[in-house]
């Protein structure tokens, strides 16, 4: 019987078995940011411990950094304090920091892949649930809490319970105007926000294999929204082509050696899965959330459903929607493109392709926060920023921005936003009664232009 990628990578990184049926697993790459690490460093100091492998931890700042004026000190004294804390910690413990001055700062899940740190067959942990993103390369990547950040710093290992694997096989290619974001929203709708608990999701099939690495990252990024801590895709030529030539990518002979390793960790054709779920890409339409969990989503062409349970009723009340109401035509106040889900260069290229010659509707605040300084530079080199600004979008600096609104980008009152981010939770985008509609970046752009939720295929003539 063959093995899955998860089993193979797990075995290679297993230090041993420990109490309670758990395994001690070595973490090959540890990423940190300013929000969930300062307390971990404080715990190390308290216990007199060092960072065991500082060369396997990399830091950036993304959650609190402003996207407009990034001159220091930051206007928000709390943000400044957190920034100073990470600067102090990386210095004291000898960790590489992708600071704004380095020109490499950005959202941790965009920076890792962009610099070639993220590679197949790795175990990757970060104090952020969207670490699942890195699974797009065929690595086992997951979010951890701050005590576990401490554990990785001190021992480069974690105590983990083995996971089951569900293979999610999606046949056929996506239709025009349907994107990776629609795949994952569709899957969460079908499998539920709790469907993945205890599982790693292995995404497979033509719909997944035909995606670019950027698209694959979008799918894996939101595995956590489906309850799966880990989502991954077997590496292939697309993966290797993406990594080649990046700053931390292996070079020369080392590349060939590493390639051999990457090929060896793919799931075997006769691997044993704990569960298999089959879908057809032709069934997937551009998706829009109407509620307060990512599961509460529908194709843009459909009507808001009758409530099936208490959480549906709660969502309708919070969102001020009526069952039977069309989601299309919902007026929006804000359009946000960015986040670790959809702040990559490909997302921006796709948006630019369609908004050229269009204008943001009057009264809509539309802004784009690129995922990293690398993405920003690339977009500007291609002249995308001019297209955005011409259309009436604000062009910002990189950071998590309004996805979780820990910086000044926030909804006000009960404003409705069309967002390319990953969570539509109550209050998520910075206002306790703000409302979030999740959708693909192109659908956000279409909503910005129309001033309301609209089928981007119709408005932008996508065929």
């Amino acid at each position: 019987m063959g093995k899955t990628l998860l089993e193979k990578v797990w075995e290679i990184h297993k230090v041993g078995s420990i109490s309670g049926g758990r395994d001690q697993i070595f973490i090959g790459l540890h990423l940190i940011h300013e929000v969930t690490s300062p307390q971990a460093f404080a715990m190390l100091r308290e216990m007199g411990l060092k960072v065991l492998f500082p060369e396997r931890t990399f830091a950036t700042c993304d959650h609190i950094i402003p996207t407009d004026d990034i001159s220091r000190p930051f206007a928000d004294p709390l943000a400044e304090e957190m920034m100073q804390a990470i600067e102090k910690n990386i210095k004291e413990f000898g960790i590489t920091f992708f600071s704004p001055e380095s020109g490499k700062q950005g959202i941790v899940h965009i920076v890792g892949p962009e610099l070639g740190l993220t590679q197949p067959g790795m175990t990757i942990a970060c104090g952020d649930s969207h670490t699942a993103t890195h699974g797009a390369f065929g690595s086992i990547a997951f979010g951890i809490g701050t005590s576990q950040v401490r554990d990785v710093l001190a021992t480069q290992t974690l105590a983990l319970t083995p996971l089951k694997v569900r293979k999610i096989d999606i046949k056929n290619k996506l239709k025009p105007g349907v994107y990776a974001k629609d795949i994952i929203l569709y899957l969460i709708n079908r499998l539920g926000v709790k469907g993945g608990i205890g599982y790693a999701y292995e995404f497979a099939g033509e719909a997944i294999e035909s995606l670019s690495l950027e698209g694959r990252m979008t799918v894996c990024n939101m595995a956590i929204e489906g309850g799966a801590r880990v989502g991954y895709i077997n590496p292939d030529q697309t993966t290797y082509d993406y990594i080649k030539g990046r700053e931390y990518a292996p070079k020369g002979k080392e590349w060939d050696k590493r390639l051999q390793y990457w090929e060896s960790i793919k799931s075997d054709p006769d691997a044993n899965y704990d569960d298999v779920a089959n879908f057809d890409a032709h069934d997937i339409e551009p998706m829009v959330t109407w509620g307060i969990t990512p599961e509460q989503c529908i194709p843009v062409t459909e009507k808001i459903p009758e409530p099936k349970n208490d959480i549906d009723k709660e969502a309708l009340e919070y969102m001020k929607f009526k069952p039977g109401q069309k989601i299309e035509g919902t007026k929006i106040d804000v359009a946000f493109i960015g986040s670790c889900t959809n702040g990559r260069i490909e997302d921006l290229r796709e948006v630019a392709k369609y908004i050229k010659g269009n204008k943001v509707a009057k009264g809509v605040k539309a802004f784009i926060a690129p995922g990293s300084m690398g993405v920003k530079k690339q977009a500007e080199a291609e002249g995308l920023h001019e297209i955005f600004m011409e259309a009436g979008f604000e062009w910002r600096n990189p950071g998590c921005s309004m996805c979780l609104a820990m910086n000044p980008d926030k909804l006000v009152g009960d404003q409705i936003s069309a967002s390319s981010s990953n969570r539509n939770f109550k209050g998520r985008q910075g206002s306790p009664n703000g409302r979030t509609l999740l959708m693909s970046p192109v659908m956000v752009a279409a909503a910005a232009i129309a001033g309301e939720v609209i089928d981007a295929r119709k408005l932008l003539n996508i065929k």
């Binding site: 230090v15 420990i18 701050t146 005590s147 021992t155 290992t157 390793y261 208490d310």
Partner: protein, 200 residues
């Protein structure tokens, strides 16, 4: 770092009902701007507890009936969303020692366990029954007995579910795994040497 055996949690229940209560609701993102976890307790469930002016919205945590309770009773998928430990840290600092739910989100469960917050699960009917009892008699004494896997509410006893690993970790005082991980340092260093990748 916390250690020490946890065999029992005694106290009173505060019901915070509903499914899919996410970490953003448990601790709104704007309160994560901190370099220590101290003081997070007062912001637990902030947006559901207070309006813009800071007036109470009558959340169960602030209800006189349940004030000072140390055990949360809730629904399905509690703690979904972010991996941030700020959520269980906030609850712990708000005086919460245990949570009874239909189910938990995975990372939240792991984070809570590491901090010594006892998370147990019961089916919906039992949660509803306990809710009725607690709502009528908020002072009723509650005991979670980890050795016998029982939850006693007044004179009613229920068998709860809990990950066996977690139960053992509480009973043996090993729920914070750092010391156990540190023990294998020589093995870790050996494994690292043979790992097929490193960063240069």
């Amino acid at each position: 770092m916390q250690s020490g055996h946890i065999k029992k949690v005694e106290g009173r229940i505060v019901p915070i009902l509903g499914d899919d209560i996410d970490t953003d609701r448990i601790i709104p993102a704007r309160y994560l701007k901190c370099v220590t976890f101290d003081g997070l307790g007062e912001f637990a469930f902030y947006d559901e507890r207070f309006d813009k002016e800071g007036n109470s919205l009558g959340h169960p945590l602030d209800d006189e009936k349940f004030k000072g309770s140390n055990i949360i009773l809730t629904g399905k998928n509690f703690g979904c969303g972010s991996s941030r430990e700020h959520a269980p840290q906030a609850l712990k600092r708000a005086g919460i020692d245990a949570i009874i739910a239909e189910s938990f989100a995975e990372i939240f469960l792991g984070n809570s366990t590491t901090l010594g917050i006892v998370c147990i699960t019961l089916p919906k009917e039992k949660i509803e029954k306990i809710y009725k009892t607690v709502n009528n008699t908020p002072d009723i004494k509650v005991v979670i007995d980890l050795e016998n896997n029982t939850l006693t509410v007044g004179n009613k006893t229920y068998n709860f579910d809990m990950k066996e690993t977690n139960r053992q970790a509480f009973l043996t005082g090993t729920y914070d795994s750092l010391l156990e991980l540190l023990k294998n340092k020589p093995k870790i260093i050996e494994l690292e040497k043979n790992l097929p990748y490193r960063f240069v």
